[in-house]
């Protein structure tokens, strides 16, 4: 029995697309003899997610995040490799896997457009065979955080985006799945609703022990929610680690500005920390190499080594770090 909620081993998925030749004659040739080219959406991806862990699966558009999620939800079969979700191979036992997972795909709602939200919930209760008492208790719990009761008698077509996504989140968790897949759940939502959704997710992970696999382009969300990050680009796994590791590897733009108590004190480089410039008592430190300390570790070293009267730090925005990561982790050689 595995200790992981989600296990992904050497997962690959190749699609074959038809290339249209240019021009009229090319078009005719494509019609008679279409040229099929392989597209490697996911290549040899391996990672694990522990029970009760929230993992952010990050990468630029077209990196292979959604394909990975589709394999894990059982919609898509991998070309090679293996995946298990709560002990089930999702694409082998799609219906069994469906009972173990909940999913929200961005702005795509699973609610019935013409019906009041509560009716959608009842239909899902029926489909997942959730006992009435459990269903009612779970709705109350979700309502406490997401404030659904204010609009759950409204027809879905009349809900705002924020209201609808909150309802979709509740709908995805009504059957108490141990594993939840969220593909850009807060896209297009205002900051207040985003925070409400984040609180809900934190509650589900910390209090209910659910495993969450989240994809998002919102780095604030990643910073506030994710314990661990898996970064993929061009279908390949680039990094599997904590946000600090990502910052260390790709975010070499932090600076520490300090005012020394002694304007003439000798200043030398510290391990992993370079002296960027000095102007009298004003000194500026920066990272020395890719494997340097985090800004917080560097700050500790600076304060311990020098007597400072004032100190300030600038850390690269996570968004900048991710941009650097996406650029540095370019396409593999054969695709370049």
């Amino acid at each position: 029995m595995s200790a992981s909620s989600i296990e992904v081993r050497g997962l690959s998925r190749t699609f074959h697309t038809t290339v249209r030749r240019p021009g009229f004659v090319g078009g005719l040739r494509s019609l008679v003899n279409p040229e099929r080219v392989p597209k490697h959406a996911v290549s040899d991806v391996t990672f694990d997610v522990a029970p009760g862990e929230l993992l952010a699966l990050l990468g630029p558009n077209g990196a292979g995040k959604s394909t990975t999620i589709k394999i894990l939800t059982g919609i898509l079969r991998p070309t090679s490799g293996e995946a298990r979700v709560a002990g089930v191979v999702p694409y082998e036992e799609r219906e069994r896997n469906a009972r173990n997972i909940g999913a929200v795909f961005g702005q795509r709602t699973q609610l019935w457009w013409d019906l009041p939200v509560r009716e959608s919930f009842s239909i899902l209760r029926d489909i997942y065979e959730v006992p009435k008492a459990q269903h009612a208790a779970r709705l109350r719990e979700f309502d406490d955080i997401l404030e659904l009761s204010a609009f759950w008698d409204t027809r879905v077509r009349h809900l705002s985006l924020g209201q609808r996504v909150r309802c979709d989140l509740a709908a995805a968790l009504l059957h108490d799945p141990p594993v939840v897949f969220l593909d850009e759940p807060t896209i297009g939502m205002d900051v207040v609703v985003k925070e409400q959704v984040r609180e809900f997710l934190r509650h589900q992970v910390e209090e209910r022990g659910r495993t969450v696999l989240l994809t998002t382009h919102d780095m604030t969300e990643v910073a506030r929610l994710a314990e661990r990050v898996v970064l993929i680009n061009h279908g390949r796994l680039v990094l599997d680690g904590t946000l600090d590791e990502i910052r260390r590897r790709f975010g070499s733009t932090w600076q520490i500005r300090a005012t020394l108590a002694d304007a003439h004190a000798e200043v030398v480089a510290l391990p992993g920390i370079a002296l960027v410039r000095r102007d009298g008592p004003q000194v500026v430190f920066g990272p020395d190499g890719a494997e340097g300390p985090t800004v917080h570790q560097a700050l500790k070293q600076v304060i311990e080594r020098y007597e400072v009267t004032e100190v300030a730090m600038d850390e690269a925005e996570l968004e900048d770090v991710m941009r650097a990561a996406y650029v540095q982790a370019g396409p593999p050689a054969e695709e370049a």
Partner: protein, 267 residues
Amino acid sequence: MAALHAWRAARVTPLGELLAPPRITGALLRLTVQVVLVASLWRGLYSQTGATAGLTRDQAVTYAVLAVLASRLRELDQQAGRDTVLQHMHFGTIIYWYLRPLPPQRYYALRAFGEQMYGLAWALMGYVVCLAAGVVEPPKSPAVAGVFALSMLLGQLVLYYVMLLIDQLCFWTLRNGAAMLILIFAQNLLSGVYAPLWFFPGWFITMSRFLPFQATLSVPLSIYVGRVPLSDAGAQLALQAAWVAALSLFTRFLWRRAARRVVAQGG
């Protein structure tokens, strides 16, 4: 097992209709106008003649009005409810059909069953009103009524599979608007909604025998008005059953193939 518990899926379309009073008013108005116009048309056509194509005036009017009422059985506004397969493919929400512990084909069937039950309620109400008003004739005997009911049931199953087939096209084409227009026209023409098939030339009747459409309405309505005698009904029922079996197998095969298309089209 899940299908028994998922009966609420059958309520999706009817409930959506009931929660939209303008749609009910529209349906009522359209049905009334259609019945009145169709009855007037056939009475007018028969004003100069006693029997045409083996049908008396009353038989022809009964056939035409019942055809209008029966066509109401699957004529619900799924488009407005964003609940057509085409819309689910377009918006990518078809993905959720494959994320539930209920096979998509069973969900589709449950939903269609609810629609047909809702449509049946409309058709029955219209039938009672038309019968009371003397617009349609009652069946000639309880036996005719029984065989008609059985034939109607088989006809609705054939219609369900034909509509399913068109919906399944979406998995390959993404757009099935043209196919749907052809289907609606073919269904109305070849099933005898516009006019009973006996009014058409011989080659047309021969061609329609090789298509499933006449099994949907023409056969049960012909049994009802007495154009097909009970002694010949067995063969017609067998043909309907054969269409149900053939379409059932073919659509089952297509569901399996469609599952592989979900990501490409709706992912």
